[in-house]
């Protein structure tokens, strides 16, 4: 028994690796990213500590005390080796040595104090202007100073006289690398655009799905009643959208709807002005998107439903005919009930894939006009990987994606429940 189960594990390993790499790893990484503020600006590796004058306002918003802000904004004067070296170069080594002797490492709250100290020395600098210049050599401000280590930065902050309690906030503002944060989600739920995307997605998924299933059923049932050869040709034509590369397929649609394209051309003689039938208004865009995606899905539905219909025993259809059922009644009472499982299956499968799919929208309207066809997955893509401001917000985009993953997993669980997944794989779902 034991070695058999090991054999099983052995056989499963490639599948597990693939599931691990292609599903779990991306999901985990998305989850991780979504709790950071990673963007083009922060980079995805570590960063430095740097306070710029702009940061002061930001810190105020974070509740840093005025005292700290003043302290940070202040320039202090410390007698250090760097300053002494400059002093020696400009005003001679004697004065530098003397200053070192008397005030090495002393900190002066302002320039005046240091100037006074310089004045009090044996090798004093006479001109006040020169003293001022010399004192400036020792001026240090924490602003615009880059620290590569956190300890150095904090030491420097303490030296400015900042309030101890404010240090974490100051440090976090000063950090130029990425940070852990839950702000992505707060932002997500507070922006009205988010709800817009959610509603767009809902509309996109529902309408496309209804079109898919409805049109798929229509094609399957109508071809079922057609003569064999004709039906096959018909099915093949409708299957084209599925096997065409998306870019080519979309290109055909674009050509079809361009203001100098097919539609405009054939409508021109009817007095309808040439226009962009895809992007004219958001209604145009929506209709186009649903037709484009719907046709792709409908062909799958057609194939699935056709084969399901053909597996209905002929005698059952014959029976319904001699029982007096018209063709319409036959469809309604015999064929459709038998298609219950394929319909349910396609509904769930398509919901999941439509939720995550955006390639056709990207290639056609790209979310436009305005943001009227921006769906959730496309918003995630735009935020994280392509936008016009140039600052790609990986973390924020990942937050979008993570919510999609959560919805997808929840929906999958519901569907598995609905299908009674174990039954589904253990016995054929065409009743006979």
């Amino acid at each position: 028994m034991k070695h058999i189960s090991w054999l099983g594990v052995g056989f499963l390993t490639p599948a597990l690796l693939i599931v691990g790499f292609l599903f779990f790893a991306p999901v985990v990484m998305t989850a991780v990213f979504s709790f950071t503020n990673m963007s083009t600006a922060t980079g995805i590796s570590g960063g430095d500590y740097l306070l710029s004058p702009n940061n002061l306002d930001e810190m105020q918003a974070h509740g840093v005390s005025q005292k700290t802000l003043d302290a940070l904004a202040d320039t202090t004067y410390q007698v250090d080796d760097h300053g002494l070296l400059l002093l020696a170069q400009e005003f001679g080594t004697e004065i530098a040595n003397e200053l070192k002797e008397r005030h090495n490492n002393d900190i002066f709250k302002n320039r005046g104090e240091l100037e006074r100290a310089l004045k009090d020395m044996k090798h004093r600098i006479r001109s006040p202007r020169d003293r001022k210049k010399a004192a400036d050599l020792f001026g240090t401000s924490i602003l615009n100073q880059r620290f590569t280590s956190k300890v150095d930065f904090i030491t420097a902050v303490i030296q400015t006289g900042a309030v101890q309690a404010d240090i974490p906030a100051v440090t976090s503002v000063a950090y130029t690398g990425w940070q852990w944060t839950t702000n992505n989600f707060k932002r997500l739920f507070s922006l009205p655009a988010t709800w817009r995307y959610a509603l767009n997605t809902l509309a996109y998924v529902t309408l496309t799905l209804v079109f898919n299933i409805g049109f798929g059923l229509f094609l399957a049932i109508s071809t079922f009643y057609m003569p064999e050869g004709f039906a096959n040709t018909f099915r093949t034509i409708w299957f084209l959208p599925r096997i065409l590369p998306p870019v080519l397929y979309v290109l055909m649609w674009k050509w079809f709807t361009w203001d100098t394209g097919f539609l405009s051309t054939i409508l021109a003689p009817l007095g309808i002005p040439a226009q962009n039938w895809m992007m004219q208004t958001s209604t145009h865009a929506w209709v186009t998107i649903i037709l484009i995606n719907g046709s792709v899905g409908a062909s799958l539905g057609m194939i699935l439903f056709s084969s399901a219909i053909r597996s209905i025993p002929a005698s059952m259809l014959h029976a319904s005919e001699v029982d007096g059922a018209s063709r319409f009644q036959q469809i309604r009472h015999i064929i459709l009930p038998q298609l219950r499982w394929p319909i349910l299956f396609l509904t769930s499968y398509e919901t999941l894939s439509l939720l995550a799919s955006f390639e056709h929208i990207l290639l056609t309207t790209d979310g436009g006009p305005g943001k009227s066809t921006e769906v959730w997955a496309l918003a995630a893509f735009h935020t994280a990987l392509r936008n016009y401001s140039g600052n790609l917000q990986y973390g924020y985009g990942a937050a979008f994606a993570l919510i999609l993953v959560a919805i997808g997993i929840a929906a999958s669980l519901v569907y598995m429940r609905l299908f009674n997944f174990r039954d589904l794989v253990s016995k054929p779902r065409i009743e006979r």
Binding site: S320, E321, V322, G324, S326, H333, I334, Q338, R340
Partner: protein
């Protein structure tokens, strides 16, 4: 309602599967379409109910020509070989279906289903799905569904083929009971001659797309039109042996027998085939024929003996059970010569 088939031909891919068949079934009669597998029974049935189109010929229900009517308009009830119940509907819904598509009102439907369910004795199963009832119950359901519209014609395509032996016997008489109670004209397709003989008024025996004989069961058994019919009816089957006719006697089975009364005409060929049924060969008919016992098959009440004759032919005999004889024993038995069936070289009855 009387059913009349005139010169009916049905072809598949240019090949005649049913060839110029004419058949009249009287009102209230139950007729069996009997024949070996592939002889065209189902095809005939499907043409009568309108599933197949007839390539040639005419079909009349009463005085009405229904040849070109679609099956929906023919008012026939059909019980299919595999019952063809609708798996997604309950038994009630299955039986009610013909009324539902007629848009009958619900009270009527409920009453009629209750009545018919009582007739076929499945009243307590109406809530179940077809998958959850037995084969016999499915068969009754199919019968109820076929009958609920009070069809002019009831067609049954091997309705008992899927049942076990005991249930088959039960359902056989059940079908006959229901058919006579409702007085409906019925066609029963079967390849089981016992079934056909036991419950039908007449049998139409088919061979390769043609009806070779149409007769009452008893009559067909006693007077088969040819060797095919003689062999098809009767179990254990009839045995044949060649015979030579002489002036006053007949050489058959290695013995010289007196020429039977009904074969006295002078215009008969010299060489004929004799058909001898098992019940017409045995010790009670004399001792002219000698042979030895090849095998004995006990059927409880009766024994079957296979007997090898001295000229190499084999006859079968059926006799009340006893254990006097063993395989290998030699016997001297006779033939009931008045029941001998004679056929010419083509197998046609003389």
């Amino acid at each position: 309602m009387k059913i009349e088939l005139r010169n009916f031909t049905k072809r598949f891919d240019g090949q005649a599967v049913v060839d110029n068949v004419s058949l009249t079934i009287e009102s209230g009669e139950m007729i069996a379409l009997l024949g070996p597998s592939g002889c065209g029974k189902s095809t005939s049935l499907f043409s009568i109910c309108g599933i197949h189109r007839m390539d040639e010929g005419q079909l009349l229900f009463g005085d009405k020509d229904v040849t070109n009517l679609p099956s929906q308009k023919r008012n026939v009830g059909v019980v299919f070989q595999n019952y063809a119940l609708y798996p997604h509907m309950s038994i009630f819904e299955n039986i009610a279906f013909p009324l539902v598509v007629q848009k009958a009102d619900r009270a009527t439907i409920r009453r009629k289903v209750a009545d018919i369910a009582e007739l076929v004795q499945i009243s307590d199963l109406l809530e179940r799905k077809p998958a959850n009832i037995s084969g016999g119950q499915q068969q009754r359901t199919a019968l109820a569904r076929a009958l609920i519209r009070r069809p002019d014609v009831l067609l049954l395509d091997e309705p008992l083929a899927n049942l076990d032996a005991k249930l088959r016997l039960e359902m056989r008489s059940e079908i006959r009971r229901i058919q006579s109670e409702t007085g409906i004209t019925a066609i029963l397709v079967t390849h089981d001659q016992v079934e056909a003989m036991s419950i039908c008024d007449r049998i139409a025996l088919m061979q390769k797309g043609k009806v070779v004989q149409l007769d009452k069961p008893r009559e067909m058994y006693a007077n088969p039109a040819n060797m095919f019919v003689a062999e098809f009816l009767g179990n254990p089957p009839i045995r044949f042996m060649p015979a030579e006719l002489h002036e006053n006697q007949m050489i058959a089975g290695g013995a010289a027998l007196p020429r039977p009364q009904h074969l006295k005409q002078s215009n008969l060929p010299d060489k004929i085939n004799l058909g001898i049924r098992p019940e017409h060969f045995g010790p009670q008919f004399g001792n002219e024929i000698s042979g030895h016992i090849l095998a004995i098959e006990t059927q409880g009440r009766e024994n079957l003996y296979d007997v090898a004759l001295s000229d190499g032919g084999v006859l079968c005999s059926i006799q009340p059970a006893n254990d006097h004889l063993n395989p290998g024993d030699t016997i001297q038995w006779g033939i009931a010569s008045q029941h001998l069936l004679a056929f010419d070289g083509q197998g046609e009855r003389i």
